[in-house]
Symmetry: D2
Subunit: 277 residues, 4 copies
């Protein structure tokens, strides 16, 4: 299991979001409160969009985030209006850069907390369902990356919620075929660099936690003394595995079996269910 | 491409073979003479059998061998009568521990120099031919590891030369199906902890170099002053991608399209050809 | 702060001590109970004596012990009758191999849990007190390594307890000169490959925990069903930062301001006090 | 020994300078032509100034530059008008992040190719000459970092050429005191984020190579078809250990015992000699 964070909004130094908050993601790499594991030290990754390139940049490494100097440096010098960050607690697969989230394909990024139950048993069948043209791009050995490539196979580029629903449907079908009762546990985020889709779902309807930040405007009224809030645009939004810090009123839980869309204009929240493929 | 070395014989400190020779494997990691690349700095591995365990031990890491302190330490303290060592020059796949040779399955070890031509194109079809019960053990993303698991699929445990021949046959067949004229280039070694099989083959009949050491008895007569030779048993044997040092008379080339068997009693040398599957 | 373990006794696979116990050192790297930090993921090291070399071998790496495959491999294949193992939680100095314990000089090994208070302030003065002939051997930047080289400077080779007492005395004197009230906090172990000396001391008389295993004979009577105990010789002994597992009667605390000697024949336990230099 | 590159000028993607040229620095990490070593695979570093922070950012890692994915990512997404890049071939000191160039102190960066002869012998005396207030900032164990902190001690902040001259003078004096005939070999670069100073000097007057790029205006006349040149401002300048690519007329050698200053307006070139301290 893992912890992750997605930021969309006013360009900010990564430091502002990654290190500054009281219970920051970096702090969670040592002391997660809501995670299955309290330590998330099996690698990390951050992916961000810049104005210099259509595809996002990735910094990923195999050590813990809490002592990584390159991440610390980057956070102090790189600004972005849309970035993902992820800290990993391996559920068994190798601790290697190619298994670190976020994963990228073209302008898309993907990150995940959760697991496909009995993945070693299902891995071959699921991998075979990946479009053969996409297959060569799979670089690691995680369930998460296979989920990403299944979603790409099922049209992530056209209709992200539908593609993720079909991915979830396929994972459940293949799992059931192998006698796995509850094949899927996921909170995941995808982005094309413009919008962010975040999903919370599990076959057992007992999904890992997922939160989104309240409207900046409302937070400013609640906390007129918090300097950071004055820097953010009205539309800025965070989606996180567990709340950063403990600002009252700051966080709302994404409901079970739902997904949200963070985008220019009004954000959205919808029901989510796997789709038959 | 890569460089490798297999040792079979009198128990020796790894240091004796890995570091001591003039043009040692460690030296080849910086300055290979016969390799396609002069530098082999994309990871390394050593695998050895000890009396404490039926399966071989592996030390593998992603940095260059030449500056690795853990390898240096091990070489000074571990003795073995059968070990493999490998230095990697990636042909494109990720530099990660799970892509470092030797690979291991049960008591078997495998290492490889060469490549499957257009592997990204052939990878999916070849991986599908791996026995589904073995598939979950594939940890990395190299052509070499897929070759190992294909050989295991085709009965490496029962008849190594036949299994490797079928693996080579399948690689060529799948390659030709995708329009690849010369799909396979390989020098490879496998061992079960008792015997070592070493193969030299390429579809274009232009295989990378492979050498084996002359009989110790003969070398002692030629070089009565070389202390190291007095330590070795008559049967000790080295197989290497390129000669270590330049002791005249020490090395013989494994002929094109051949394989050798190093074993108690007389060693063997045979013709090798891919087999239809 | 850190966690460590010293083993002296019947030759055993490292695995037996490092991984097998319920609350093993490897488990403590993720979930320490008594440590200042619950996570010790800033590098690790194991040092062991073999019959092939007078100096001990070191395997040290910068990632967490819990996911290190080379350590796992070694533990399954290397036997030793005297070894040290250490997991690190950095108190600020860089996470790098040269800062990982154990440290080695000739046949001596040294490891430490604790800290010199305000080390950046004291580092220069303390380093200057290291014998200039030993100074070039300092490779890292930790307080621990400087403590080791001070002990070597003060005659570790001749009289370890006296040398460690003088080291502690010098650290306290230099600390006091810089206005540091409680300069030293330490539990440390040194060995020459024959005996192990373990010290527990802190300037504030509030030292980190340190335990030694009870006599094997007594443990066997208490736990006749524990297979592992039957493998050990009467004299086998463990010294640990915190108990492994929860075998009742297995562990005794090293008293505050004390040191123990594990050696052939009767072990010893003495009072410890810093010595003026 | 090492290879390095300093860029000053029009903001460019790091990729343009680090990877795009035919004989780029990344290529030199595998195949240096003019270096003492042909391989520079013992770590690397890049340091750049951004508009978000007064101090430069550093990305440094211990593996080879040629296979580092984080460097590749950064190069594709980060623009800078002043950056340093360095690839390392260790002359003996540990391969660790804290020994990778560039080094940083406040807004200053420093990188070096060369060596202090018999540094282990001179290290203690030289380190003692570092200002005690700066001493705690020394993180690694290289001769280069000590040279940087000596230069800082001698007023780098006020008068860089004078400070470097005093540093060189002190190295030579201490070297001679220890019977070292030719203590210093250096090509080095320092910057405060506005100007770059580059020095070429060695006690034996046989300094490693150092080149600077010709005026952009002249290059454009010579090579009207080279697109890259049209992107650069007139004042853009590169200083390199060895030429990138082989554009005729592009490179001029920095003379023996000289230093150059790259700055807004006219650049400068002066004689360099160590100064007595």
């Amino acid at each position: 299991m893992c912890r992750w964070l997605a930021y969309w909004g006013t360009p900010v130094l990564l430091d502002t979001i990654l290190y500054k908050p009281t219970h920051s993601l970096i702090d969670q790499s040592l002391h997660s409160k809501l995670g299955v594991e309290t330590t998330n030290g099996d690698g990390f990754g951050v992916g961000w969009y810049s104005q210099h390139n259509d595809t996002p940049a990735l910094l990923r490494d195999v050590g813990p985030a809490w002592n990584n100097r390159n991440l610390r440096e980057l956070a102090d010098h790189v600004q972005s209006s849309l970035f993902f960050a992820h800290i990993r607690a391996s559920t068994g697969t190798a601790v290697q850069q190619s298994n670190c989230h976020p994963f990228r394909h073209g302008r898309w990024m993907f990150m995940h907390n959760g697991a496909i139950t009995d993945f070693p048993l299902l891995r071959r069948d699921l991998t075979l369902l990946v479009d053969p043209r996409l297959y060569p791009y799979i670089e690691g050995t995680t369930d998460s990356e296979v989920m990403f490539y299944l979603a790409l196979t099922f049209g992530l580029d056209q209709d992200p919620p539908a593609a993720v629903a079909r991915m979830a449907g396929v994972v459940e079908r293949v799992g059931h075929e192998h006698g796995v009762e509850f094949p899927l546990q996921m909170t995941l985020a995808v982005t094309d660099g413009a919008r962010v889709w975040a999903f919370r779902y599990s076959s057992a309807r007992a999904s890992r936690s997922l939160f989104y930040s309240n409207r900046v405007e409302a937070l400013r009224r609640l906390h007129p003394d918090v300097a950071f809030l004055r820097e953010l645009s009205e539309e800025s939004r965070l989606i996180v595995s567990e709340p950063l810090g403990d600002l009252p009123g700051a966080w709302k839980e994404v409901p079970e079996s739902s997904y949200g869309v963070v985008q220019p204009g009004l954000d959205e929240l919808h029901r989510f269910a796997p789709a038959a493929v």
